[in-house]
């Protein structure tokens, strides 16, 4: 069993490195760059949610992470379809 400070340190590192992804999302010359950057940010925040659930020892926080993982790919899928076909429906 690792001490709690290890998980807090991992959370700090993940929160710091998500700023580099935000730089790519803001500066990225094309839309696919921003799309992949936001996808990586979503995965990082998912890990941070599970870390908080582990640190506080509350299983309710795991449910938040599950809903988050279920919904996270929907926006990526929609934007990818818009970039490829120019429309969302049909």
């Amino acid at each position: 069993m690792l001490p709690e400070s290890v998980f807090v340190a991992v959370g700090i590192i993940l929160a710091t490195t998500s700023f580099f992804c935000l730089y790519r999302a803001v500066k990225g010359p094309s839309a696919p760059d921003r799309l992949v950057a936001v996808n990586v940010i979503g995965t990082k925040t998912l890990v941070i949610l599970v870390l908080f659930a582990f640190i506080y020892g509350r299983t309710l926080y795991i449910d938040v992470a599950i809903v988050y993982a279920l919904i996270n790919f929907l926006s990526t899928l929609t934007i990818s379809k818009y970039l490829e076909k120019g429309r969302v429906t049909g």
Partner: protein, 80 residues
């Protein structure tokens, strides 16, 4: 040291909000706003409101982005 994670995430939110108002490409604004919603879910959870965090993750990150992209596909991508 958990406050340091909160501080970094709040800074992230501020940068996202500023950039979403500044950009002229509306599709980029929608993508950046999606990341805003993603991080906001963690902040709700840190404020002891996990039910609102579930709603924010479902509505803010998923449904709102889909509706915004549908609206962009019906109108114009670039702000005049």
């Amino acid at each position: 040291m958990i406050w340091l994670i909160d501080l970094l995430l709040l800074l992230f939110l501020i940068v996202c909000a500023l950039e979403a108002t500044r950009n002229k490409d509306l599709l980029s604004v929608v993508i950046i706003f999606s990341s805003y919603s993603l991080v906001m879910a963690i902040i709700w959870q840190q404020l002891n409101a996990p039910d609102i965090a579930i709603t924010e993750a479902a509505v803010g990150a998923g449904i709102t982005t889909m509706l915004f992209v549908a609206a962009i596909s019906k109108t114009s991508r670039w702000e005049e």
